[in-house]
């Protein structure tokens, strides 16, 4: 879905890494004229309360998403294969962010 309102610039998706070593998580989206301005706006909008150690910004238009109609073909075959789930292991104490 492309944003047609050019007065605010294109839409960007913001990903924040909360702590070193853990994956970047989607935080939200914002408008900005270009990548550098998007990065600065992300800093102001999403990291004011010490949330992050790293920021990624990605043009929303560059993201290809699956659609709800795909859900059957994409996700259902996994439902009846419980052996694919790592539920037979015990997570050792002290492992965070799993």
């Amino acid at each position: 879905m492309e944003n047609k309102d050019i007065s605010q610039g294109p839409l960007w998706e913001v990903f924040i890494q909360g702590n070193p070593g853990i994956p970047h998580k989607h935080a939200g989206s914002l408008h900005a004229a270009d990548a550098e301005m998007a990065l600065q706006a992300a800093r102001d909008t999403y990291t004011r309360r010490n949330e992050g150690t790293s920021i990624w910004v990605i043009p929303s238009a560059q993201i290809t998403a699956s659609s709800p109609e795909d859900n059957g073909a994409f996700f259902e075959p996994a439902n009846n294969k419980p052996y694919r789930h790592p539920t037979f292991y015990k997570v050792p104490d002290g492992v965070k962010y799993l």
């Binding site: 007065s7 605010q8 610039g9 914002l30 408008h31 900005a32 004229a33 270009d34 550098e36 301005m37 600065q40 706006a41 800093r43 102001d44 909008t45 004011r48």
Partner: protein, 253 residues
């Protein structure tokens, strides 16, 4: 009060008032920014400046040591007692005017506080170390806008150039320092202002060139902020800022 303390007090007022008035001007954008993200950025920077003002005026009150605090200094002084540089009180105008003003002030703040990190005064050193991290970001923000406005469309270039032409006459006043400043320089309490000015000139020249903006030549420089000769705008700012304290004296919340 020793003469050195007196000079420190005057410096804290100068820097604190710069920060307070700058913060107030930016706060006027709250809810009026060109779009949501920039609205947040401007008020964010505003809060940084107001926080800095609190630190500096608090230290001034501590040096003065007569039972008054930073709120007395902020809310109960009149225009002629305010020491902020003339550029900080200039109106927001259009977005280009706000950003050009911001860039010129941020550049000064960044280099001044960077140097102030070496202060022989522990309190000023501490305040500077906190401020310089914020200033680095402020400067990055306003610098990026200089490039985009100056080297953007014909209209954005025209607006930024007009702003630079209008504001340039107030840039000399930024480097006027209060009485006793030389003593602070020799005691290594405050940075050599000539050095700060040199860094400021180099940076401004460099950015304006990339931004396709022309710095006015041989311009008249208006001064007077330290002797109370402010432009008409400061009175309106204080009227609004001090209203509650003046209307309901000693109120607390």
């Amino acid at each position: 009060m020793t003469t050195l303390d007196k000079a420190k007090y005057e410096l804290c007022l100068r820097l604190g008032d710069n920060a307070l008035i700058m913060g107030h001007r930016l706060a006027e954008w709250c809810g009026h920014g060109p779009y949501l993200e920039e609205d947040i950025a401007l008020t964010n920077i505003s809060l940084d400046y107001i926080g800095l003002a609190g630190n500096l005026l608090g230290y001034a009150a501590q040096i003065q040591n007569n039972g008054k605090n930073e709120d007395h200094l902020a809310y109960l002084r009149n225009e002629f007692e305010y020491k902020n540089a003339l550029i900080t009180e200039q109106p927001n105008g259009d977005f280009a005017q706000t950003m050009v003003r911001q860039f010129l002030v941020d550049t000064f703040s960044y280099y001044f506080y960077k140097e102030l990190c070496n202060s022989a005064d522990d309190m000023l050193k501490g305040i500077a170390e906190k401020a310089v991290k914020e200033e680095e970001y402020h400067l990055r923000h306003s610098t990026e806008w200089m490039y985009r406005l100056g080297d953007g469309t014909r209209e954005s270039n025209e607006r930024a150039q007009n702003a630079l032409n209008d504001l340039w006459m107030f840039t000399g006043d930024i480097f006027d320092m209060p009485q006793g400043y030389h003593e602070l320089e020799s005691a290594k309490v405050a940075p050599e202002i000539s050095k700060v000015k040199q860094s400021w000139e180099t940076k401004v020249k460099e950015v304006m060139q990339i931004a396709c903006l022309k710095i006015p030549e041989n311009a008249y420089m208006q001064k007077g902020s330290l002797t109370g000769a402010h432009t008409e705008h400061l009175g309106y700012i204080l009227t609004e800022m001090q209203y509650v304290q003046r209307a309901f004296p000693n109120s607390e919340w």
